[in-house]
């Protein structure tokens, strides 16, 4: 791997690791508060999975010369985080969190399926592991979103408003980053635009089949979003929602760097 490919790979790994870490934390906020006990457990388990994926990705960065995973998670300032804005937004109501998880896990599935073919073997192996676990998230999320979208009038309205609010942010999961073209040329990682297209083609027909209105249109085989994507996170431009998370997550480590728990 050339120096510029390594730099581009690190940029991408920070983006993916931070996405997993932050959405994992957002999901964990449902522990003890789930609307029913099954969902309390489901969100807690999915949160734990996402944290595991974050740890795997941070470990890969550590192997490439970056700090220890705990240091990366607990001691970086907000503007060093490269997560998309989609994952940092407050959890909202259960409909909002569930819809975000469906949109995010769809993106994760496309992304990590592609990464199983990476020419960087450690990343390909980690991707294969993540794909295994994401199957369960996908089944859970599609089942629940479908039931609620087709459920009562109130549940339908809540799922629709969550989707309408989240759609521009979820397009931001594919925000371009510097060096993506180098990674594509070296078969290390897929092109973000290609991933976005696959994700649109996966999500739009599915959500429409649930009776939801999607701000996108179809042309030939491909779907195109009708709203502007919300970018910024991949360049370290975040909302106050990320500061709130980091205040909560980093408080203990910053107060006592040697604390063990």
């Amino acid at each position: 791997m050339t120096a510029s490919e390594t730099a581009a790979l690190k940029t991408m790994l920070f983006a993916l690791a931070d996405d997993e870490f932050i959405i994992g934390h957002r999901m964990s906020e449902w522990t003890g508060l789930g609307p029913i006990i099954e969902e309390d457990i489901a969100f807690s388990s999915m949160a734990q999975d996402e944290m595991g994926h974050a740890l795997g990705l941070y470990s890969l960065l550590h192997q490439m010369g970056e700090d220890e995973p705990d240091t990366l998670a607990f001691l970086r300032p907000a503007d060093a985080f490269r997560n998309s804005i989609c994952v940092e937004l407050s959890r909202g109501d259960y409909a909002f969190s569930l819809m975000r998880q469906l949109l995010y896990d769809g993106a994760e599935a496309e992304r990590f399926e592609a990464l199983t073919q990476s020419s960087f073997p450690d990343l390909a192996n980690l991707a294969a592991k993540i794909v295994q676990e994401e199957r369960y998230h996908w089944i859970h999320n599609t089942m629940l979103v479908q039931r609620l979208a087709k459920g009562t009038e109130e549940s339908r309205i809540r799922m629709q408003s969550a989707l309408s609010e989240l759609f521009p942010y979820s397009l931001g999961l594919f925000e371009p980053f510097g060096g993506n073209d180098l990674l594509v040329a070296a078969n290390i990682a897929p092109d973000e635009n290609t991933l976005r297209q696959r994700w649109l083609n996966r999500m739009c027909p599915l959500l429409i089949s649930y009776g939801l209105a999607v701000p996108a249109h179809q042309k030939g085989d491909n779907w195109t979003g009708d709203v502007e994507a919300v970018f910024g996170g991949r360049n370290g431009r975040h909302t106050e929602h990320l500061m709130n998370i980091l205040d909560a997550i980093q408080l203990l480590r910053k107060a006592d760097p040697k604390a063990a728990w």
Binding site: A42, S44, E50, G52, L126, E133, I139
Partner: protein, 161 residues
């Protein structure tokens, strides 16, 4: 250091007594979590494969493995492999032991997990296939929750991976 004639089998036997912290009657060897054992002089290298990437039991297992190796008089070097673990690595003996504690074992799927995800899960108590999934997620990352309509008992399934 005592001269050892069969260090490998001795080490594997010892590791076979290290139990999975979440399945107390099944060892890490039977779970297929121990991938490799290599002896170099007085050091034993053990490679482990985590079941689920967010599994909090991994650190406990790692400590248990290190302590076991050290109790045999070796230095322990334990590393975690990144390759994906699969439930196909679980031994037949472990599958039978799981049933005795009310845990439905995953079937061998040969890589075809998608099919396995939607096939009926027999009750570990009464073997009936008249069972219903209650939750894809359970008390640990590796388990789902089911209910047997036949013997009317709840049970857990070790998820196929």
């Amino acid at each position: 250091m005592v001269e050892r004639t069969h260090p490998y089998s001795e080490i594997w036997d010892a590791l076979n007594t290290v139990m999975d912290p979440e399945i107390p009657n099944v060892s890490l060897v039977e779970m297929g979590i121990i991938d490799e054992v290599r002896v170099e002089g007085v050091t034993v290298h053990v490679v482990m494969i985590p079941t689920f990437s967010g599994c909090p039991a991994l650190d406990v297992m790692r400590d248990d493995v290190e302590n076991t190796i050290m109790s045999l008089g070796f230095h322990a070097e334990v590393s975690i492999a990144r390759k994906p673990w699969s439930t196909d690595r679980i031994s037949e003996s472990a599958r039978n032991k799981m049933k005795t504690i009310g845990l439905a074992p995953p079937k061998q799927h040969g890589g075809n997990v998608e099919w396995e995800l939607f096939s009926p899960v027999p009750c570990p108590w009464c073997t009936s296939e008249n069972t219903t999934i209650e939750n894809q997620f359970g008390p640990t990352l590796c388990r789902a929750m089911y209910y047997c309509n036949e013997c009317q008992q709840p049970f857990e399934q070790f998820k196929p991976l």
